[in-house]
């Protein structure tokens, strides 16, 4: 079974990976590259905990063959997290208690990043619609919506209060 070399940009760095046909990005990230921030909640495309960005678009890495990202820019939570300190979205989630068990958090932060990159001032409806594919069983979503609004404020220069 012919493995293939696929070249793509992962978090700002060009990499070549050797993968069997139809290996998913989730399996590559978690099993081969040990990027564990991308979670594995269902492998059915139903929970959003495996969301990564491909050319800035959020996608379910559990359903995405590695070969499909050849030549593209892939971003994972490891890529958003600065070496020192936190991204404003991470600060906002932390300050707003926007997580409890934390398992859904990476996927939700990725979708929030994609949303805020595209729409710096999302209203509540736009935030809620963007997050429709992310399951959180602990928080009841309200603190997450507050956190995204707070993140927007921080990223637009106003000091977001917790």
């Amino acid at each position: 079974m012919a493995a293939k070399i696929v070249t793509f940009n992962l978090n700002g760095r060009e990499i070549d990976v050797l993968v069997k046909p139809l290996t998913t990005m989730q399996t590559l990230l978690r099993e081969q590259l040990e990027y564990f921030a991308t979670k594995s909640g269902c492998r059915q495309g139903g929970c959003g905990s495996c969301t990564i960005l491909v050319d800035g678009e959020p996608m379910a890495s559990c359903l995405l063959p590695v070969e499909d990202v050849a030549g593209k820019e892939v971003t994972t939570l490891e890529g958003i997290t600065p070496d020192l300190g936190l991204h404003p979205i991470q600060e906002a989630f932390f300050d707003n208690y926007a997580m409890q068990c934390g398992y859904c958090t990476p996927g939700i932060i990725m979708v929030s990043k994609a949303l805020l990159d595209r729409n710096p001032h999302p209203n509540r409806r736009e935030i809620v619609e963007a997050l429709a594919g992310n399951v959180c069983r602990c928080t009841g979503y309200e603190p997450i919506i507050r956190a995204v609004q707070d993140a927007a404020a921080r990223m637009n220069g106003q000091q977001g209060g917790a």
């Binding site: 046909p21 495309g45 959003g48 359903l63 063959p65 070969e67």
Partner: protein, 279 residues
């Protein structure tokens, strides 16, 4: 045995060559949002898979009174470009942003009920599917594409390449009714396109999803509307007829009884929506 090949044709022609070469052994995949879960769970273990994402079939343009959509255009693209109001609505009501970035318009014709809401909108708009095989192409109306549960007219070696949607001349309306506000399977979906000659209904298309083995037309209900004004009385009769002629099923989300009830409610609401627009 696990997957031996994942073909990524760079053009439609290359895709057809692969298809001819491997025939039934080749599983054709659009966005993967239906195929990949089955592979992940070991329910499906194909040897050869062909992904059409790079075959240059994702585009939306207008061509002599028709909207032409490439088969691997994603639902997100349709939502962003919203070539027709109903198509924007249908896309917005399917799955969630992350999945819409992957799911394709063409893929929506190969999904198990109650999925297929986008195909339902295309059914109501009398869309036609351009099916191609090496050296040949043919157009099949969506209304004749499905032949049964997960069955269609596609011949071996044939691919769905494009969807041609005549610009609707009348009023259109679409409602997807699910148990949750978003990202949820349909209890029932209704899409309608009604053309008027003055105050009288000149042509009517009512398409329904989740109440049959695939998206279906409520033909008897359509006939009732022809030639008369879209009055409340005509709407109620049509809605009751649609409820009788549909073949709902039971699943985790809704029972047959409830789906049949909701066909009556939502065919009526969609038609009233259109009547309201007609003013």
């Amino acid at each position: 045995m696990s997957i031996t090949n994942y073909f990524q044709p760079q053009s439609l022609d290359e895709a057809l060559i692969f298809l001819d070469e491997h025939k039934d052994a080749l599983l054709v995949m659009g966005g993967g949002t239906v195929t990949m879960p089955l592979i992940n769970e070991g329910v499906s273990a194909p040897e050869k898979v062909m992904g059409l994402k790079n075959a240059g079939l994702n585009y939306i343009h207008q061509q002599n009174g028709r909207v032409v959509i490439g088969a691997t255009t994603t639902l997100s693209q349709v939502l962003v470009e919203a070539p027709l109001p109903m198509l924007g609505e249908a896309a917005r009501n399917t799955a969630a942003w992350t999945i819409r970035n992957m799911a394709t318009v063409g893929g929506n014709f190969f999904v198990p009920p109650p999925a297929g809401d986008f195909a339902t909108a295309l059914l109501a708009l009398d869309a036609e599917l351009k099916l191609v095989r090496q050296g040949q192409e043919r157009f099949v109306p969506v209304s004749e594409f499905f032949t049964g549960f997960m069955a269609n007219v596609l011949q071996p070696g044939e691919l769905l390449a494009e969807i041609h949607v005549p610009i609707p001349q009348g009023q259109t309306a679409f409602i997807k009714f699910g148990r949750k506000v978003a990202n949820t399977p349909a209890v029932v979906t209704v899409a309608a396109h009604v053309q008027f000659d003055g105050a009288l209904v000149q042509a009517a298309r009512i398409a329904m999803n989740a109440v049959g083995p695939h998206p279906v037309r409520a033909r008897k209900a359509e006939e009732i509307l022809l030639g008369s004004p879209l009055s409340d009385e005509a709407i109620n009769t049509a809605a009751s007829t649609a409820a009788e002629e549909c073949e709902p099923f039971t699943d985790a989300v809704a029972s047959e009884w409830y789906r049949r009830k909701m066909v009556k409610v939502y065919v009526s609401r969609v038609l009233k929506n259109i009547a309201g627009k007609e003013g």
